[in-house]
């Protein structure tokens, strides 16, 4: 596992091959599996986005769905005015970025716990606004996108590829960030914000930049999402469950890494799918349990077991790793 992660040339070739396989997939197999994968890509992208501020800097947002909703509704409204889909998506991304800058500046100065609750409050207010501003959003009646004039398989493939494209772009973005000044700054902020300040990092600017980037890309994902569903309403566009799913995925995989959220997205999507098919109503409960277990035993994610470990993996060392967190923080 360790070798795989530090790969090099071989890794790049493998990756490109994998992407090619994924790209042709919807033309080989159609139907539900394509939609499942599209959703998976969407969650993977959102987990990566969340990870920028949440994983690298330790500022846990409970309200990422707020930006997704801005993207969905923004794109829909702009398209209704007559603009092309990609232009609309880009514009709604810019709107979200603006909102992120304005909202981000005050709330990012708060300490971590307060910030999290503030993000939840913001996404909730956005939900209520979209519910009440009926002239703009259609309120509870929802908002319809124009349905494309093409066969269902082609449509599925189209959105599959769009989401795949987005998750690739965002993964590359996260890789760049992790090796750049922004990444170093954010990681320093997570470890010790006071030290980061004294080292010359303008913590507020860095946080706001990360937040704005998150908002922009989350909205873009939202724009594709809205078009794919062709119908959105406040409850689905601002569903706080989405924020939670994203957190679970990023935490399960590994916060603060690039591959972690991807791994988490895959795992949780599969688990979620299995649970949904077999335990229809209780699957949310299981997600709650998973979240609790992850925070207690593996707060740094599953990948933490494999990375940075000098010792060999065995049942004993595994037990020790799982117990590490508890021994630090119990009373």
């Amino acid at each position: 596992m360790k070798a795989f992660l530090t790969g090099g040339k071989q890794k790049s070739i493998l990756l490109i091959m994998a992407i090619c396989v994924l790209a042709v997939f919807p033309y080989v197999k159609t139907g539900y599996i394509v939609r499942f994968m599209t959703t998976l890509f969407m969650y993977a992208a959102l987990s990566q986005i969340w990870n920028i501020l949440g994983g690298f800097a330790g500022y846990i947002s409970l309200g990422l769905v707020g930006f997704v909703g801005i993207g969905a509704y923004g794109t829909g409204i702009i398209m209704a005015v007559g603009l092309n889909m990609y232009v609309a998506i880009l514009l709604s991304g810019l709107i979200a970025a603006l909102v992120a800058m304005i909202v981000g500046m005050p709330i990012l100065r708060l300490r971590a716990g307060y910030y999290s609750i503030a993000t939840y409050a913001v996404s909730f207010i956005l939900w209520q606004l979209s519910n009440n501003l009926i002239w703009l959003t259609g309120g509870g009646m929802g908002f319809r996108f124009k349905i494309a004039n093409a066969g269902i398989d082609r449509i599925n493939a189209y959105y599959y590829l769009n989401m795949l494209g987005i998750v690739i772009i965002i993964s590359i973005l996260c890789m760049i960030i992790s090796k750049s000044s922004l990444g170093y700054g954010l990681m320093a902020i997570k470890e010790d914000e006071d030290a980061a300040n004294v080292l010359g990092i303008n913590t507020t600017v860095f946080k706001v930049v990360a937040f704005t980037i998150s908002g922009f890309f989350a909205a873009i994902v939202g724009g594709i999402y809205g078009n794919w569903l062709t119908f959105i309403d406040p409850a689905s566009a601002f569903d706080s469950n989405l924020s939670v799913m994203v957190i679970i995925m990023a935490m399960v995989g590994a916060v603060g890494t690039v591959a972690g959220p991807l791994l988490g997205a895959v795992l949780i999507s599969i688990i979620s799918e299995v649970l949904w098919n077999n335990f229809l109503f209780v699957h949310q409960m299981f997600l709650g349990v998973i979240l609790i277990l992850i925070v207690i035993f593996l707060p740094k994610g599953i990948m933490d077991i494999f990375m940075h470990r000098e010792e060999k993996l065995s049942p004993r060392s595994l037990a020790r790793i799982l117990g590490e967190n508890i021994s630090k923080f119990r009373v």
Partner: protein, 258 residues
Amino acid sequence: MELLKVSNATKRFSGLTAVNDVTFSVKKGQILGIIGPNGSGKTTLISMISGTHSITEGNIFYKDLSIKKLQPYQRARMGIARTFQIVKPLKNLTVLDNIMTAALFGRHQMSTAKEISLCLSGKFSKTAYIHTKEIMEIAGLQDKSNVFARNLTLPDRKRLEVARALAMNPELLLLDEVMAGLNHKEVENVMKLIRDINKNGVTILMIEHIMKVIMGISDRVVVMNHGSLICDGKPQDVANDERVIQAYLGNSFKNQQT
């Protein structure tokens, strides 16, 4: 020239006056020692200079500019670096990454716009990497480059703390009890390190309790007690000052010296 001038600086924490009307200055290239009993306000004073604490009254001048309204990161960019008494390593980063972080940001004057473009540029800075390697050599950490900071021993953590401050290319280095917890040999090593840094032109303010160090290295010494400055002068003069002896050194030290 006067690099740093602290002018009637006072810090109050709702009811407690931690630093009371302190005035002194430091010439460029000097080593100034700060001593005093525990709780006398030494660390608070350093925090006021580095910007970690705001200043309640008075002013602080760096290169003849008032810095009292500047944020810590702004002062860092002007060339002021500090270490913390209770070390603050970036625990989940390696030694290399810890120092690299300092090297990337340290003394680089820049506007907010430039800063944002720096964030977005995504460039991996080769210069910072080379600089980091040099600093690791100087601090003696080159063999531990890939060790996570959380796995370091205390002397190494202290070394890391100083290395990080050095990587910032400071003009003024504020050291807060870097010797605490070190044994004899380690103290000698750090003393040599500090002398070398000073020879390279860095002005140093150091808080210490170990008299051998203070008296051995400092060009001048100031003494604090209960938040006030009670003495300011050459090491020998300070050691013989009645007030200082009463407050801090104790008569047996004086007897040792004579």
